[in-house]
Amino acid sequence: MRQIWVIALVFLLGLSLGLVYAWRIKPVEYTDNEFADLKPTYQAEYVLMVSDAYALSGNLDAARERLSRLAVPDVATLVLSYAESALTQGATEIEIDHLAHLAAALGASSPALSPYLTPTPTVP
C-alpha cells in the first residue's frame, strides 16, 4: 500500500516537472508570427520605421496598410500615442517629427505636437 503512494508521488513529481518545463522553461515557440505578436518594444520600433518610410516616400496608403498589421482598432491614435511618448522619452527631433507628421496625416494631432507641424515661417 505504501509503495502505491510512493509511485503516485513520483508520478505527480514527473507531471509537475513536465508542466513547469513546458510552460515556463521552454514554452512553445511560435513561428510565422504576425506584427501584432511583436513585443511592445519592437512594435514601437515598427511604428517608428513606418513613419520614417512615410517621410521618405509620402505614401500614406502604404503606411496605413503597414500599421493595420498591428491589428489595433485606430492606427491614428496609436501613432499619436507613440509620438507623444517620444516627446517625453528623449527621442530625437527627427523621430518626433516623423511620428507627428504621420499621425497628422492619419488625422490625429495634439497641441504638444503642433510645433512639429507648423509650416509657416515666423519672426523670431
Binding site: E95, H98, P124
Partner: protein
C-alpha cells in the same frame, strides 16, 4: 532483491509517465497562450517587410548603429547578405526603385554586394563619410529624387566597388548679402530650385539660431517664385539655414554700412 528492482522500475516508469503527460499537456494540449515575439519569429514575408523598413529608415536617418541593432533582432534574416538578396529579388521583379535603393545602400554599407547593390549605387562620385551628420527631414508630399536610371542587365558584377554618394541633394549656387535694399533688409530670401533652375515648392527649410529652430516650406509665396520662402532675422542674431542637409551658416543682419542687410540664398538640386 527482486521486489526492490521491481519497485525502482515502477518508480522510473511513474516518473517517465508523469513527465510525458506533463510535457504533452503543456506543449500540445494547452500551450501557454500569452506570448510576445521577436522580429526573428515573424512570418517570412513579414521579416522581409521588417528588413525593408530597416533599410528605408536607415536611408532617411543615416543611423547605422541603430540599423545594425534592428537587423540583429531579425536573426539570420537580418544579415547584410539578406538585404542584398532582397534588393536583387526586387530588382529583377521590377520592385519599387526607392526600396531597392534603400536595401542596396544598407547592404553596401554593411559590406554585402549583389547585382542590385552595384546597379543602384551611383558611381564616380566623391567619397564622403558614410553617415551624414545632418539628417534631412523631407516633407512627405515631396519624395526625394529617385531617378531610376538603372536598367536590369545580365552583365556580371564589376570588380570595381562603386563609391556611395551620400552628399545632400542640394548645392548652394548663390549666397549673397544684400545691402541698400529696404525691401530685403533683415530678411533671408531662400530660393530652392530643381536642376533646371525651376522653383521647387514644398521643400522644407530649417532656420536655426542658438538653441532654437524654425521649419517652414517653400512655395508659400508663389507670386514671387514657386520655390521661394523667407525668414525675418532679429538684429545681431546669427542664423544657419539648412535645406535637406545642405547648410549655410553665419547669416545675420550685420555687414552692411548702410543698415541691416538681407540675404539671398539659392539652393539647387543636383542632377
Amino acid at each position: 532483491m527482486l521486489d526492490r528492482k521491481l519497485l525502482w522500475l515502477r518508480l522510473t516508469l511513474a516518473l517517465a509517465l508523469g513527465l510525458s503527460l506533463g510535457l504533452t499537456y503543456a506543449w500540445l494540449i494547452d500551450p501557454d497562450e500569452y506570448y510576445e515575439t521577436d522580429p526573428a519569429n515573424l512570418r517570412a514575408d513579414l521579416r522581409e517587410d521588417y528588413l525593408t523598413l530597416i533599410a528605408l529608415s536607415y536611408r532617411i536617418n543615416g543611423d547605422l548603429a541603430r540599423a545594425q541593432a534592428r537587423l540583429t533582432t531579425l536573426g539570420k534574416a537580418g544579415k547584410p547578405a539578406s538585404a542584398a538578396a532582397l534588393a536583387d529579388r526586387l530588382y529583377h521583379s521590377g520592385g519599387d526603385a526607392e526600396t531597392i535603393r534603400a536595401l542596396a545602400l544598407l547592404a553596401h554599407t554593411l559590406g554585402a554586394q549583389s547585382e542590385a547593390v552595384v546597379a543602384h549605387l551611383p558611381t564616380a562620385t566623391p567619397t564622403m563619410a558614410p553617415t551624414p551628420t545632418t539628417t534631412p527631414t523631407p516633407l512627405p508630399t515631396t519624395p526625394p529624387t529617385a531617378t531610376p536610371t538603372d536598367t536590369p542587365t545580365a552583365t556580371p558584377i564589376p570588380e570595381v566597388t562603386p563609391t556611395l554618394d551620400v552628399r545632400p541633394p542640394y548645392d548652394v549656387v548663390e549666397q549673397r548679402q544684400v545691402c541698400d535694399n529696404l525691401e530685403v533688409a533683415g530678411i533671408i530670401q531662400i530660393y530652392v530650385q530643381d536642376a533646371n533652375g525651376q522653383g521647387l515648392p514644398n521643400v522644407e527649410v530649417q532656420v536655426s539660431w542658438e538653441s532654437k529652430r524654425n521649419r517652414f516650406f517653400t512655395g508659400l509665396k508663389p507670386e514671387i517664385n514657386p520655390g521661394y520662402a523667407d525668414f525675418h532675422m532679429s538684429p545681431g542674431q546669427m542664423y544657419d539655414v539648412t535645406v535637406w542637409g545642405t547648410q549655410v551658416g553665419d547669416i545675420s543682419t550685420v555687414g552692411c554700412s548702410s543698415g541691416p542687410s538681407g540675404w539671398r540664398l539659392v539652393f539647387q538640386h543636383r542632377e
